[in-house]
């Protein structure tokens, strides 16, 4: 079927070439047959008009894009610094559209207006220091503003205040999955190194380190709303990148070093699911999935699950064949729910003991969820 489609497209393109060539040839009617390969007045006229039409095409396409795809853009930010990023983005975008609209118009309009004609004389205009100064100084001023605003927000996002009340969480990346480790009561992550990976200790936590005793490893990330979370990020094998688009957060995971990113979640998952834009988005996606499911079922395959919104952690640095499917669910809870959820998780030490117990008689008939979370891990002590 697709082969047929491709064949059709190619055939249509062939026809299009032929027709376009004919159109250009027809525009030559009336002028003497000209095969010099150099543009004549008629070519200039036709292409001048087309150039003017092209700026129209750019405008219309831009407007169409915003109408048709504007709602694809990430909506309400879910972190404290998110609105800052978004407003800087909006300012930059406004500036871009302003400059784009004007310069593209001038460029194409001049092409149309001054398209070559017999007897038209070009102006010998080689230099003008005032003009040059204008379009040097205006960008300097505008960019100074952007640079200062940008650096202000950047410093705000990237530097964590020593005295702040923060929670440390380790993000651990490996081909092709994520894990997370909570620092526990002492809010200090125990030391860890990939050389210590053994059995259920998949994060290579140093179990001798007292700080690691109360650490808890999980495979679904829960965060309490309103608390600054400092992520200490490690990788086990190759470069990965911890991308949390809804929080406007991203940091690479580098084997051999610990990287850091911090933010305050401000919207719980439950609240976000009620967000107007998210509701619209989810409805749209479910419509698409329903339509796809009908086709799948007709082919005798399984229908797609319906989609509910969740925050996600994606890998955003090429990391291997299954890079496209390296994700972890993030849940933002109220502080109480978060505490309750975390309290149920075993510590890494506990998991290690259970797994290496002499009599593995009743090895965890525990709920499935816990079994998944036996990915016990510990990371380095902060600083």
């Amino acid at each position: 079927m697709t082969s047929l489609l491709i064949f059709l497209v190619i055939a249509l393109i062939g026809v299009a070439v032929w027709q376009l060539t004919k159109i250009f040839d027809l525009t030559q009617v009336g002028t003497s047959k000209d095969d010099s390969g150099v543009a004549n007045d008629n070519d200039n006229k036709v292409n001048g008009y087309l150039m003017f039409a092209f700026v129209g095409f750019i405008y219309i396409f831009t407007i169409y894009s915003f109408v048709a795809w504007g709602d694809l853009i990430l909506g309400t930010p879910a972190s404290a610094h998110g609105p800052e990023v978004d407003s800087l983005m909006e300012i930059s975008m406004a500036l871009i559209f302003f400059v784009q609209t004007i310069t593209q118009f001038l460029l194409h309009y001049f092409t149309f207006k001054y398209a070559g004609k017999e007897g038209q004389k070009a102006l010998y205009f080689a230099d003008n220091h005032k003009l040059e100064a204008v379009w040097t100084i205006i960008p300097v001023i505008v960019l100074s503003g952007l640079i200062m605003y940008g650096l202000y927000t950047w410093n705000d996002i990237m530097y964590v205040d020593e005295d702040e009340d923060v929670m440390y969480v380790e993000l651990y990346a490996k081909q092709f999955a994520w894990e997370a480790r909570y620092a526990g009561e002492d809010n200090t992550l125990g030391k860890a190194n990939v050389r210590l990976i053994e059995g259920v200790n998949t994060l290579g936590v140093d179990l001798e380190d007292p700080a690691s005793n109360d650490d808890k490893a999980v495979s679904e990330l829960h965060l309490p709303i309103g608390k600054k979370v400092v992520f200490k990020i490690r990788s086990q094998d190759v470069l990965h990148s911890a991308y949390m688009p809804h929080f406007r957060a991203q940091m690479n995971c580098v084997p051999g070093m610990v990287t850091q990113f911090a933010f305050v979640p401000t919207v719980t998952t439950v609240e976000m699911r009620l967000d107007e834009k998210i509701v619209a988005k989810v409805n749209k996606i479910n419509k698409i999935r329903a339509a796809k499911s009908i086709k799948l079922v007709a082919e005798g395959k399984e229908a797609l699950d319906s989609y509910t919104f969740d925050y996600l952690l994606l890998c955003n640095k090429i990391c291997g064949a299954s890079h496209y499917n390296m994700q972890m669910k993030i849940v933002v809870d109220t502080p109480e729910d978060f505490k309750k959820w975390l309290a149920e998780k075993p510590t890494v030490t506990q998991v290690w003991k259970d797994a290496n117990a002499p009599a593995p008689v009743e090895v965890k008939a525990a709920p499935l969820e816990v079994a998944v979370d036996t990915t016990m891990v510990l990371a380095q002590v902060i600083k």
Binding site: S3, I6, A16, V17, S36, G37, V38, D43, N44, N47, M51, F54, I58, F61, T62, W69, G70, L72, L74, V85, Q100, Q104, F110, T111, Y114, G116, Q120, A122, L123, F125, A126, D127, L131, T136, L143, I147, L151, W154, N155, N193, R195, G204, I233, V238, Y243, P245, A249, Q250, V254, G256, M257, I285, I288, D305, L314, C319, G320, A321, S322, Y324
Partner: protein
């Protein structure tokens, strides 16, 4: 007028067409090799675009071109998708837009426009081309390796590129990639040295630096940044070879993969990123500056007007070149390097917008009150300015570390760099080919085919890359084999189909270009000596090529290259070889 009559040694087929030391022949060799590599690079992009639009579907065309190993049953494998992305990037950036563009036009135009008989070292020039050819062959050979070609992205970040356990393409495929690139760098350095020496030493009488056409200025400055930055990539490649083959730990540390701990300790992938982007960023200017030079020259000649702000144009070329070497860190804002460094690189990066703005406004002003001859070359030059603006403007988002956090490595980045350096440089290349084809092959191209090629290409290029901004801002990461693992991205599927449609149509229409080039080579109308009525020296040479360029003495130069429509002259152009009239004033002197 042949070379024999000019008193040169007798030329055989081999010395004339294969191991030629004539810069004009070497330019043609670069052109054709670059174009052939271009076909492969573009075809790959169509293949992976098809996979994105119709994920995991079976295509006959994959069965034919990718085979059972890479696409069992016509369905592309996920690591082969990454291999295609990697080799597409490598081929387009280095083999097409560096060697194909700069190699072709630096070789053709430097000696002709400065009034030299050939490059400073014709022999080194020949070696430079043949090393490029060998590196192309090795790169293509890597496509046929059993474990697949290099698949770690064109930026080949270790550890992924260092460990075959991490991805199959990092085995033999990666070895061949590194060997090919090492040879490519050697070729590029020899070429660049030759260009610099030639421009400095071999200018004809009267050809001062401020009488050089902007093309030559652009090639000259490009060669200098190539000489500064390419050796750093060479070192990075060398150290990576050491890590891969001899167990050193320059870039690797603390790795647990495939169930075992590797011995590496103390290295840092971030070091590699610094070394890579120390070339990688200047590289995009190595690609775009020659295109800017070509476009400036074509715009002046086709507007029948002097280029506006000649000195500002030179100053901005130099400013861009200088800044290009101190902005590489904007590729690494979230690499884990110190955030203070991010601040510094944001500052230097956004500064580049200033000389870029100067150039864009100068081009637009050049059109103002001109008498525009809308040949295909001119259309592509205007197209260049258009995409350079559209793509360049989003640079103020990506160059801003704060905003980069959220759009880094998404489709927004793909949209940005394809428009600003991919498509723009390609337009510069097309413009150059359409404009100097008569000089290269002594024949004219078919203008109707040229117009069709231009109009379809500009619409499709916009159709491909403009929508990518939106899916990027939706948070879609690049280099995903399929987006179907994320229900969140289901709503982007239609956009991806549209993009792929535009890509297929745009790529297919490049046939018009190739047909025009190869057909006109033999059957095109014979060109006159100066078909575009330009002022520069290359149009004073005879149509038939001869080794040594001018049959008699090398002409002397009396004026700058942009005396178009100068008052007080009958013609609307005054060649550089025409002496100044009594009382005539020269600008800039």
């Amino acid at each position: 007028m042949s070379a024999h009559e000019h008193g040169h040694h007798k030329e055989t087929f081999i010395t004339k067409y294969i191991f030629s030391i004539d810069h004009k022949m070497i330019a043609k060799q670069y052109l054709i090799t670059g174009m052939l590599m271009g076909i492969i690079g573009v075809a790959m992009s169509i293949f992976f675009r098809m996979q994105i639009a119709w994920p995991e579907e079976s295509f006959e065309i994959f069965k034919i071109f990718l085979g059972e190993d890479y696409a069992p049953g016509g369905v592309m494998k996920n690591d082969i998708y990454l291999a295609l992305v990697t080799i597409h990037g490598t081929i387009m950036v280095f083999f097409v837009l560096t060697a194909g563009l700069s190699g072709t036009f630096s070789n053709l135009l430097i000696p002709l426009q400065i009034g030299a008989r050939d490059m400073a070292s014709g022999f080194m020039n020949m070696i430079s081309y043949w090393m490029f050819f060998i590196s192309s062959v090795i790169m293509i050979a890597s496509l046929f390796v059993e474990s697949g070609p290099a698949s770690a992205g064109w930026t080949i970040y270790p550890p992924l590129s260092a460990l075959p356990q991490a991805i199959p393409g990092s085995g033999t495929g990666m070895t061949l990639w590194l060997v090919s690139m090492a040879i490519f760098i050697a070729s590029s350095l020899m070429g660049s040295l030759n260009y610099v020496v030639t421009v400095i030493n071999l200018r004809t009488k009267g050809m001062t630096m401020t009488r050089l056409p902007l093309t030559v200025w652009a090639f000259f400055v490009t060669a200098i940044i190539g000489i500064i930055s390419f050796p750093v990539l060479f070192s990075a490649a060398l150290l990576l070879i050491f890590d891969r083959s001899f167990g050193t730990s320059f870039f690797l540390s603390d790795i647990f993969i495939a169930g075992e701990v590797l011995h590496y300790q103390g290295g840092s992938p971030v070091l590699f990123e610094h070394l890579f982007w120390f070339l990688g960023h200047p590289e995009v200017y190595i690609v775009i500056l020659p295109a800017m030079g070509l476009v400036s020259e074509i715009m002046a000649s086709s507007s029948r007007k002097p280029i506006f702000g000649y000195r500002a144009m030179i100053a901005s070329i130099i400013a861009i070149a200088f800044l290009s070497t101190i902005v590489w860190g904007h590729h690494m804002f979230i690499s884990g390097m110190n955030p203070f460094l991010g601040s510094v690189f944001t500052f230097t990066t956004l500064l580049i917008a200033i000389p870029s703005a100067v150039k864009a406004f100068n081009w637009i002003t050049t059109l103002w009150k001109g008498n525009l001859q809308l040949n295909t070359a001119m259309l592509f030059s205007i197209g260049f300015v258009s995409t350079f603006i559209t793509g360049g403007l989003t640079g103020i988002i990506l160059g801003d570390s704060t905003l980069d956090i959220n759009v880094h490595d998404t489709y927004f980045v793909i949209a940005h760099f394809h428009l600003v350096m991919g498509i723009s440089a390609l337009y510069g290349f097309f413009a150059g080919v359409y404009h100097w084809y008569p000089k290269m092959f002594g024949r004219m191209l078919n203008k109707t085919l040229g117009y069709v090629h231009f109009w379809v290409t500009v619409v499709c290029a916009y159709g491909v890359f403009f929508p990518m901004h939106f899916i990027g801002m939706a948070g879609l990461p690049r280099r995903y084999y399929t987006n179907s693992e994320f229900p969140l991205f289901d709503e982007l599927a239609d956009v991806n189909v549209l993009i792929t449609m535009f890509a297929i149509i745009g790529a297919t229409f490049q046939i018009a270009f190739f047909w025009n080039i190869f057909y006109s080579m033999f059957y095109g109308k014979k060109a006159t000596q100066n078909p575009w009525r330009s002022t520069t020296l290359e149009w004073t040479t005879p149509v038939e090529h001869l080794h040594g360029n001018w049959p008699g003495e090398i002409p002397e130069v009396y004026r700058w290259p942009y005396d178009y429509s100068k008052p007080g002259h009958d013609e609307d152009f005054v060649p550089q070889t025409v002496p100044m009239k009594d009382g005539e004033e020269e600008l800039h002197h």
